[in-house]
Subunit: 351 residues, 2 copies
DNA sequence: TTTAGCACTCCGTTATACTGAGTGCCAGCA
DNA sequence: TGCTGGCACTCAGTATAACGGAGTGCTAAA
């Protein structure tokens, strides 16, 4: 209510003190009192003055006290302000970038392994949990397709993707196809559509189907319906890989067994985590969800720092770090950022 | 030192009291005192007499007390005696068996999914962690093999196993092979060796190679060396699937965060758990490791109840339950046993 | 606008006492 | 000889009170 803090915007000083407070709390994990802040800030202010500012910050919802006579700790909103407006991330040490690059060496790993390395690396250097979503395969292009007849109207489809990843699916069909017509179908698909991404493929196949409805020979018809079946994305696939979940057990914030258990169960069921990560795939760079912001109860006590990575010429997945809200964003943000870039580079063979 | 307990073998009464004690402790989780035992046993003995027996049991190492004035709890040795000699497992309720069978319906799942269902089911009904090792593929036979030329001297091998499981591997070769000679090679292998198990195949291929060394045409030579490469089992594969680890967080025995963490890390690294489970593959039926018996520090507080399952005509893997030493062996043993039988049945198509 | 001073609050720790559960041992009894 | 009641003792866990420390909010003065 008093002059300075009546405005919508916090005073310079209040912002600065919030910054110092958050940094201090991230460092020590203990509520920060006015005396500490008075010494720590470098400003020439007495504890009493600091207390006034704190009262304002509390009123705005940036900080809170665990109880009457403890210091203040940041709220989710406080962290948000800190991350968005107060924090200046320094670029990573060059040495460290080199070390990271070595872990993601494309020459001696396949894409699958690269993803695993990335999540391991994230968990190892941050000492929190690292997560990498598997590439959205619809967006990836493919090199080659092959059909193999099995018993009882079933056909095995082998799909070689642009990155060398191989997928198989078994189709259950309404009638048997002999080896030679299957051969013809795959020839047709390989010569006309190889190299396109999977969604595009489905679209042009449907067009084709409409355009040539009458004139089309049976073979092409078969080919098109079959391809349509193949390229429907399958459900129930594993959808992300995580490493270092156990690191989270060290954090005092998560020492409540009940909460920890729910969190780990969420990791296993994947659903919530995945929809959250999917939201990040549209964003440009590093995206951060702090505590309750995520909208999922289980993630109340944790933050997610994520960044999209790309393959070919589009974003195909997201990687990131999951840790307590009280994490060193200053350190984690550039790490996630760099990892995403390195992984993208490793996944895209230099042309 | 006194007459009765001086023999190597425990008296009838001592054995019976141990049984009651273990059952009681499994039920309540609290040290059992002489008064309780006196009422609970049904024997017409005063607490004082019970105490004498307890002193003997303690001397033999079957029970111990957490502190001077608490009751007794079983040691690993005590549980072992209980499980080996005192416990009589009742067969499972028929209703329950039917419900379990429904979960492992071979008609609407592939083998991969069956294994996952089995481990899920084990964890769900025992409320502990369920684990299933993946089948040893060397012991499985195969139905079909196919080669697909890729760029740069690489060949994609598609291997269809007897259970319908499909595997791919990429071979790096010293020279390029054209599609038609690859076709010939696969024809040769399919018509001469399909249906054998993989170890047997390698053996007969090597024989073949020696026997026909001079007379052999180049094609057969290629085929044989290539097959040899294919059927070398690959390292670094995932080796078991686990479900319900988080159930273990509920047990008071594991409330020590440090121990819990080590346990979960062991689950992730898989190594120790796997060598332990591998030991069970030779045993006939249900095998039990109680606490420290396993020889692995991380498993000090937990027991593993396991049983082998089979496919084709041999044992190929192990499944089981991991839980606190203080688990209801009476319930868990038949569950593991039945699950192993059901899984074996589901994996072996009725002929 | 800032600051010093003061009363107040609340957590965490320590000391103390007390209760309840259980034990080991001994002496007497069938 | 084996069983039992009695007794002194031990020890974890809990409740209670006391106290110091850290921090706050408010007020009055600089």
């Amino acid at each position: 209510m008093n002059g300075e803090t009546g405005d919508k915007n916090l005073s310079e000083r209040a912002q600065f003190l919030l910054k110092v407070l958050v940094e201090r709390y991230i460092r020590d994990g203990e509520p920060v009192g006015s005396r500490t802040l008075s010494k720590d800030s470098g400003l020439d202010l007495s504890p009493a003055s600091i207390r006034n500012v704190m009262a304002d910050l509390e009123e705005y919802g940036f900080v809170t006290s665990p109880h009457t006579s403890a210091g203040r700790i940041p709220t989710a909103k406080g962290y948000r302000m800190f991350v968005d407006s107060l924090l200046k991330v320094k670029p990573l040490d060059e040495q460290e970038v080199l070390r990271m690059r070595a872990h993601l060496d494309p020459s001696q790993s396949n894409p699958q392994q690269l993803l695993a390395s990335a999540s391991n690396m994230l968990s190892a250097i941050t000492r929190m949990a690292g997560v990498v979503t598997l590439p959205k395969r619809e967006m990836a292009s493919w090199k080659h397709i092959e059909f193999l007849p099995l018993a009882e109207n079933r056909v095995l489809v082998i799909l070689v993707l642009a990155d060398g990843e191989v997928q198989n699916r078994v189709l259950h069909l309404d009638r048997a196809y002999d080896a030679s017509s299957l051969q013809q179908i795959s020839n047709y698909l390989n010569s006309n559509f190889a190299g396109r991404d999977l969604t595009e493929l489905r679209r042009s196949l449907l067009n084709e189907l409409n355009r040539t409805r009458e004139s089309m020979n049976e073979l092409m018809h078969m080919a098109i319906t079959m391809a349509d079946k193949v390229f429907q994305s399958r459900a129930g696939e594993p959808t992300y890989m995580m490493a270092g979940e156990t690191n989270l057990m060290d954090f005092a914030e998560l020492s409540d067994m009940e909460k920890l258990r729910r969190l780990f169960e969420a990791f296993n069921h994947k659903r919530d985590i995945l929809t959250l990560l999917d939201k990040c795939i549209i964003a440009e760079g590093v995206q951060i969800f702090i505590g309750e912001e995520s909208g999922y109860r289980v993630l109340d006590q944790v933050s997610v720092v994520s960044a999209p990575y790309s393959m070919g010429d589009g974003v195909v997945g997201v990687l990131g770090v999951i840790g307590p809200t009280r994490m060193s964003y200053e350190r984690v943000i550039p790490i996630v950022d760099v990892t995403a870039r390195l992984l993208s580079a490793a996944l895209n063979p230099r042309k």
